[in-house]
Symmetry: C2
Subunit: 389 residues, 2 copies
Amino acid sequence: MTTTLSVNSPAIDNSHLKALNQLDIPARLLLGPGPSNADPAVLAAMDRQPIGHLDKAYLALMDEVQELMRYAWQTDNHLTLPVSGTGSAAMEATLANTIEPNDKVLVCVNGYFGHRLVDMATRYGAEVSTLHRPWGEVFTTAEIRTALATHRPAVMAMVHAETSTGVCQPMAGIGDLCREYDCLLILDTVTSLGGVPLFLDQWGVDLAYSCSQKGLSCPPGSSPFTMSDRALAKLNNRKSNVANWYLDMSLLSNYWGKGRTYHHTAPVNMTYAIREALRLLAEEGLAARWQRHQNAAERLYAGLEDMGLECHVPREYRLHTLTTVRIPDGVDGKAVTNQLIDQHNMEIGGGLGDLAGKVWRVGLMGYNATPENVDKCLAALKQVLADLG
Amino acid sequence: MTTTLSVNSPAIDNSHLKALNQLDIPARLLLGPGPSNADPAVLAAMDRQPIGHLDKAYLALMDEVQELMRYAWQTDNHLTLPVSGTGSAAMEATLANTIEPNDKVLVCVNGYFGHRLVDMATRYGAEVSTLHRPWGEVFTTAEIRTALATHRPAVMAMVHAETSTGVCQPMAGIGDLCREYDCLLILDTVTSLGGVPLFLDQWGVDLAYSCSQKGLSCPPGSSPFTMSDRALAKLNNRKSNVANWYLDMSLLSNYWGKGRTYHHTAPVNMTYAIREALRLLAEEGLAARWQRHQNAAERLYAGLEDMGLECHVPREYRLHTLTTVRIPDGVDGKAVTNQLIDQHNMEIGGGLGDLAGKVWRVGLMGYNATPENVDKCLAALKQVLADLG
């Protein structure tokens, strides 16, 4: 008995059949908000055949990735693992695993990703209150204390490195306040991990998330997530299941922990890639890595100043990995970014939200944080501004 | 004013710093339930520098991927796109976007993934009822009609290709029943897409999901999702937001559709990979692709029979991509799979759930569905059984 197609099947419809050429990707220098270029060693590591997600060789890899993520973040958190998606999935994982319906959540909003945290937290049934600052400013511990005392949230979420504004939030004292008010602290480190100083445990951060395609010089698709024992206690005491199966850490921790219980198929090749990215970070060392980013950023600031361009953020709060540059009066910002792509194969970003049309966003992240790239960027920008001026 | 690390920063803790060697992955022939081996052309496509997820070159790629997914699934659904995660994320996307709290959902359960659908649907607040069949059997249209008439669900979910049992569900008439009872039909095609005949529109399927690492011969991490206009109408009429931000199609369709509105950073290199996988499928053609899988499966059945081994599923319901083989009495199934890995670098799967310890699972999927691989598998299995016997 055969089930040959012609007998039982409808005819195949070829209306969506396209004959495509092999992939042809332009060689871009990615100096925008991300993705950044990958380290060629990371691409080489990714370009291997997959193995099974329960293969002992894969399980060994998982341990290595977890341990080096702890180093990168400066945390001892046992529950530290890559989420099988891009940074927004890891962001959602922090909220999904901490929020039960009607929990009070306080979100500090001074940019695009603060708004996203509000949107996500609301979907998980939280009673969300917000503390606002203009895009480009930071929060003070005094105003955070007042907000904690007023709202008494179970969870507070804030952004360490706001990719939409180029601000780096000073973290001293904030974790202590969250402990004083018995509240978990979630921190967005999407644009800081692997680029600027991060000390999760010293800062008293309970949950953090990041991405692979910025400071780690890896393609997007495997996203660091960590949670403290304090956060885990809240998870273990939930009355309801986590309202998201794919991101449920009570299940995922059994796969990434001792049980090795199958949850979902891991993005195996992305794990190869992030393992190599973390290996390279460990080889360079955090101090050297952070210094390299600082040097690149300071070279950029000096060059912009020479060109008469202004940064949007006061110097002391600037994020080394991502610089917002004010678009001068009379200049069409979009025309500039288009010409950078078309004539220089160079990507820089435009503004988002409150800063749309007002700034460019220049990223110097991971593999790309070099003096050569700063000089290329400044030269290209100078030429395009002259051409369009 | 510099912010040199040594001034403001705590000391770096090196307790999690490990010096690792470069990645060393064993060369496995993956003949289990997935991941399967990737086509080398897919790995080559993936091994390119990322570009921006709003780059016009990337936007062109997105259109190509969407169009070839429609061909692969035989659907005209406009909303057809890859989810930025592995197959379980795409599975969750079908439920998250159709279920509002207290919606009635009927799940047909005859294997592991039916149970997972129940778990997920429950988390989205559905009132779930189930129709059960033993692991290895299929559902009849008569019993489905009775269940629809009894429960009157808004959504029915079932599995076309049960990876845990090796059963392929006949689909004739089921879509018509769902329309008669005004219910959306969700279909799991994780182990059928790119391997066995699939005609979503002819079958009246409203939502389907799949993965990249089986019939498509791609690494895991980019997962096909599609929804019909009927399903979209339910999404557009929701009273509440989709309870999952990352998978919310009302947002994602603006990025994958005309608006190109940024939602989350796409896993760019995984899109390169699945685009190449779909290009190869289009080049081979669906009829030839399905026939190749059928031929490989029949060669396997014949070889197993020669060895005196039995398949768990009656021939007419066998899934060509995944065969469940009964472990003979007195044989330690786990010892066999371990020895296949250790001595032959060959992965086959064990049983899950009700079939744990009772079957092996042999996958012949995508790039791996060749007579040479069938022969390798049979020879290795014969030798291991002799060695252990």
